[in-house]
Symmetry: C2
Subunit: 345 residues, 2 copies
Amino acid sequence: MTDTAQRPTLEAVAARAGVSRATVSRVVNGGDGVREPLVERVRKAVEELGYVPNQAARSLVTRRHDAIAVVVAEPETRVFADPFFALQLRGISKELTAHDNQLVLLLTEGRDDHARVGRYLAGGHVDGALVFSLHLDDPLPGLIQHAGVPTVFGGRPDWSGDRRGVVYVDSDNRGGARDAVRHLVGLGRSRIAHITGALDQTSAVDRLDGYRDVMVDADPRLIVEGDFTPAGGERAMRELLVRCPDLDAVFAANDLTAAGALRVLRESGRRVPEDVAVVGFDDMLPVAEQTEPSLTTVRQDIEEMGRLMARLLLRGLDRHAVEQGVGAAPSSVVLPTTLVRRASA
Amino acid sequence: MTDTAQRPTLEAVAARAGVSRATVSRVVNGGDGVREPLVERVRKAVEELGYVPNQAARSLVTRRHDAIAVVVAEPETRVFADPFFALQLRGISKELTAHDNQLVLLLTEGRDDHARVGRYLAGGHVDGALVFSLHLDDPLPGLIQHAGVPTVFGGRPDWSGDRRGVVYVDSDNRGGARDAVRHLVGLGRSRIAHITGALDQTSAVDRLDGYRDVMVDADPRLIVEGDFTPAGGERAMRELLVRCPDLDAVFAANDLTAAGALRVLRESGRRVPEDVAVVGFDDMLPVAEQTEPSLTTVRQDIEEMGRLMARLLLRGLDRHAVEQGVGAAPSSVVLPTTLVRRASA
DNA sequence: CTGAAAGCGCTAACAG
DNA sequence: CTGTTAGCGCTTTCAG
């Protein structure tokens, strides 16, 4: 743990280059409108002194921070169970980095933290926020709207409040689910069960809706609630085998759930896909490729979702500064999914 | 994307409360040495105006940011393959939050990014850094030393430079490996193979050393290099079965590797644990509990590692400010591991 | 115990 | 094109 040295200031650079602070500032910020020889001199002085601008001083006057908050609600739930979050974060990071923005990560644990996050956002520490509000009835979106920070949501937020200007990036969960179930139908299956995700998340609800779109008058007993975890998948699968021993296919709300279901099917002596075909959702590689048999699933480009969220936010920020409301506000994006065929269906 | 409203300043609060800016500042920062009735008045004004201090202005004078950078090198490698990183991050976040510090996440992709990170750290945007330098011969530690930012490393860094004051938090990889192998020996196994991790990471090297501590004159053919991934585990296991068909146990460098090995063992018709006992490392629940059979493994408390890193860093920062070198500098910590017995050994 | 005053380092008019 | 001049909002001596 070394000591932080005293950093040189604009003043010092100006003195060394024999110009005014203003000129140094201009050069440091792109050098427009400064004659070449001066630019050279200043650059040299900056180099020699190892000058780095003080971001606090700069923010104080520009009111920009070049920093974006990423808010993740309640990591305990799903976020840390699979690499989903990590991938999305990576996409976000790449995009932010490309635009010289910093990523401030705000993880919340339960209700108390909401207030803290709200305060932080309202405090004007960041230029915008990327929010993963996974749960229905989450107070976060409201808080954020109140804080007045430009925001893009990850996943369609379920929000009863004012929807104007709510921007989100989501996968086509419903369409993807339809594809999955249609694929099973195409395989000649008719008793197709569905293990849902945690139904307090819009993604789970949307996937269930997609299932219903195809299985218009499905036997209600074929639908069992899961929670996006392998354990939930096991539990649900056991229940299904009791309720509907004649089922010949399962559409699981995600790959982890499918993995749990596969295990139970194997234990019960059902062959996959011969007796029961199984389709998952996510195409989480470490999971989908490792199950036995490997998993047919619906792929979504998670990293791209992250990148897109960041892009949308930054674009909005720009317009904000430049055109003041001219041009359409950025609008939500729903990314397509693709079915990946492997061995399980 | 809503507009950012004009925030009230200290001045405004002072006016409303009928006191000076200085007094408001004192109250906001703890209220020491201000008479109770005034404190009340100020608090009320703050409340009514929804005042939140401007961090940039504050940092400008205090030179504190109450922000810590978390630097993760090359996410592609291991970090995003398993929930390891996410858990550690969570521990870090909890600790930082408890001390009112923000978490600035810096993900790097390749060499070019190192320079960017170095610049950022040197720029004095944060009070300290938590660095995951997973690879041998990583230039990052050097850059950081150069930047002069107080730093705690996650995992023992392999660093040829000046070791003075290098602080890290690590698991007892070597001891844990010894426990694992001893357990296998205790089970009466004698032909115990080891699938290593990626040997450009100290954790992999340390686990290999632990294996060798117990298997002092092990047949060198029993050691095969893996890379911490299931695919690597499969490849290594296949090779082992060819090289040493008589092996009766495998110690895998992590759970993912073990999962791959288990799959190959099953395919090859070996029963686990009857024919071949298998032990992993990490106790990554989603993996270790889901394998068939469930995995005996070495547990490390990953979240605690993260928490500890943050605690160490913050403590160092404090001392820095207060005592200026008095008292011992924080030193590295190696956390113990425990063997978790399940079905595979 | 409280207020007045002096910057922290930088940018952004505004002159020249 | 370049320099001068005000602050941005806050903390912190220093007087009173």
